[in-house]
Amino acid sequence: MKQRVQPRTLIVCLSLLCLLAVWLSLALGPVSLPLFDTLRAGLRLLGLPVAGDDLQQAEMILGQIRLPRTLLGLAVGAVLALSGVAMQGLFRNPLADPGLVGVAAGAAMGAAVAIVGGSWFGGMPDVLAPYLLSLCAFIGGLGVTALVYRLGRRDGQTNVATMLLAGVAMTALGGAAVGLFSYLADDATLRTLTFWNLGSLNGASYERLWPLLMVAGGVALWLPRRARALNALLLGESEARHLGIEVERLKRELVFCTALGVGAAVAAAGLIGFIGLVVPHLVRLLAGPDHRVVLPASLLAGGVLMLFADLVARLVLAPAELPIGIVTALIGAPFFLVLLIRGRS
């Protein structure tokens, strides 16, 4: 059997990588800031008394653009990876994806409603208007997931297979709805919709960040508490029940965490694929399937991967930028294929 990486080594390495990614994400961008300026501006932002009247630009770029963007990337990556772990545990399949319960399709549907039908919400208070897209995506994701969960329930029990099929059906339905809205859209809104579907960390701001950070924090604190229960669930639902796990409650929590997490992530950054699928898979290859390691390691690795992907997205075409969904798929898909081929031999 292949050697596993010691859990502690893995977590330490990922933490260091994470620090590196955060530093690079703060230090690099289309605007080239001298290293020393970045450092001083960073210290000033932390409230330290560093002289620097010449640092307005650096402070602005660091504090208003790169920092929120970095935090958003960390939160989105972490929450997507954790949701991936939750779904792979729920469906007891290492190839499950957070999208399986329909949350992505629902969010896409919500976003399409907001982007194309934005004018229909004429009577909306102005305060809400900038958040309409995020709100619709979040509600869409949560709503569809709730429906899928409801469809999978019978006699007080959740049938995971039925849920999976319901998720597939709802995803198809969501696709049709997005298609319909694309048909109704004019050229410009169509492009907005397309770009949204590719995801981006562009334009991150603190106001949009807080809800996601809270959700991500909640999910990141909650799921690891259920690590052992998730391990047991992998044996099978009845086996887990015989080990004393309240399986119905666990499944409800997993679906809820995923819907909330992916819903919030998609609402803040659009559809970003592959993180939820690849990261947990990779972590398991390195450290084995024990969720007590997989969950914290995926959290870190998701954030790291997201930040590196975002660095590519914002640097490679600068001053323009690439939608990050393209980058994650470009990194993720070949990587995944390599894993598959090597795993088979």
Partner: protein, 294 residues
């Protein structure tokens, strides 16, 4: 005799200072996001100020050499800032809004213009650009000239309509001929057709796909096609090949097919419009073609 050079120097210095003072108020480094807008900036002699444009800015050709800040609706705050612009100009389509807010916060002026297909919008945009470029008079002249050209065209179209009924026209926007979209009511394409004196046979809103049968049933007198992938003659061949139903229409039987530059349809009314409208009108009213050709 010492006085004169001193005075001359003083004068020169004064001039330099005053232009500098003026220049300090006017934005020197420009990023333009919006096809028609970039064209107007160039027409007003401001091309040298442009340090970056978006992907819809395709004319004049020389703009393509400038750094691209991406699609106008998906600008990147840091990307734009990295060009150290004094001003970002764009239409209300420019975005996303949080990015514009960040750019403003960084001390860059963000100036918004109208992308409406209306003459008043052109007037207002030109006045605004003229102010920003310090070329108000030139802008006024350009606006007046533009209005005159279009008004003149209208008069000629009216005259031509005495001798000939307004032709029924379809505007097809396609990609290598396949599945063209038909320009419906409220689109820039529709405005173009009507300005050139045509009746737009398509009555739907926006750009929509038609079945080839529906296309044939409308039986247009003239077909205007705008292809993003192929040039004129090739585009025409591809269009007819992909849509055999069109071949039965009057437009094809009588060889009344006109190609249109697709960049004219994006981002409001631009300076190249009057010339294109004349070509269109000439095709719509063959009898009066000579008058439109001027």
């Amino acid at each position: 005799m010492m006085r004169r050079p001193v005075a001359l120097i003083a004068l020169c210095a004064g001039l330099v200072l005053s232009t500098q003072a003026l220049a300090a108020e006017l934005p020197q480094r420009w990023v333009s996001a919006g096809g028609a807008l970039s064209e107007w900036v160039s027409a007003l002699g401001g091309e040298a100020h442009l340090v970056g444009v978006d992907t819809t800015s395709q004319h004049p050709e020389s703009l393509k050499a400038l750094p691209s800040v991406g699609y106008q609706r998906q600008l990147s705050a840091e990307g734009v800032l990295s060009l150290r612009p004094d001003v970002l100009v764009g239409t209300e389509e420019m975005g996303p809004p949080p990015v514009l807010a960040q750019i403003r916060k960084a001390g860059v002026r963000v100036e918004l213009f109208s992308s409406k297909a209306e003459l008043d919008a052109v007037d207002e945009n030109l006045r605004h650009l003229g102010q920003l470029l310090g070329a108000e008079q030139q802008a006024t002249a350009l606006a007046t000239g533009y209005r005159q050209q279009l008004d003149g065209l209208q008069a000629e179209v009216k005259q031509a309509q005495v001798g000939q009924k307004a032709p029924g026209v379809l505007l097809l926007v396609g990609h290598a001929g396949a599945k063209p979209l038909i320009a419906g009511q409220g689109t820039a394409g529709d405005w173009l057709l009507r300005q050139a004196g045509a009746r737009n046979l398509a009555e739907h809103q926006g750009y929509k796909n038609f079945s080839s049968e529906a296309l044939a049933a409308l039986d247009p007198d003239v077909v205007v096609f705008s292809d993003r992938a192929l040039a004129d003659e090739q585009a025409l061949q591809a269009l007819l090949k992909e849509n055999p139903a069109l071949a039965a229409s009057r437009a094809v039987r009588e060889q009344r097919l006109v190609s249109l530059d697709p960049t004219l349809l994006v981002g409001g009314l631009g300076p190249r419009l009057p010339a294109s409208l004349r070509t269109l009108a000439g095709a719509f009213y063959p009898a009066a073609k000579a008058s439109f050709a001027q």
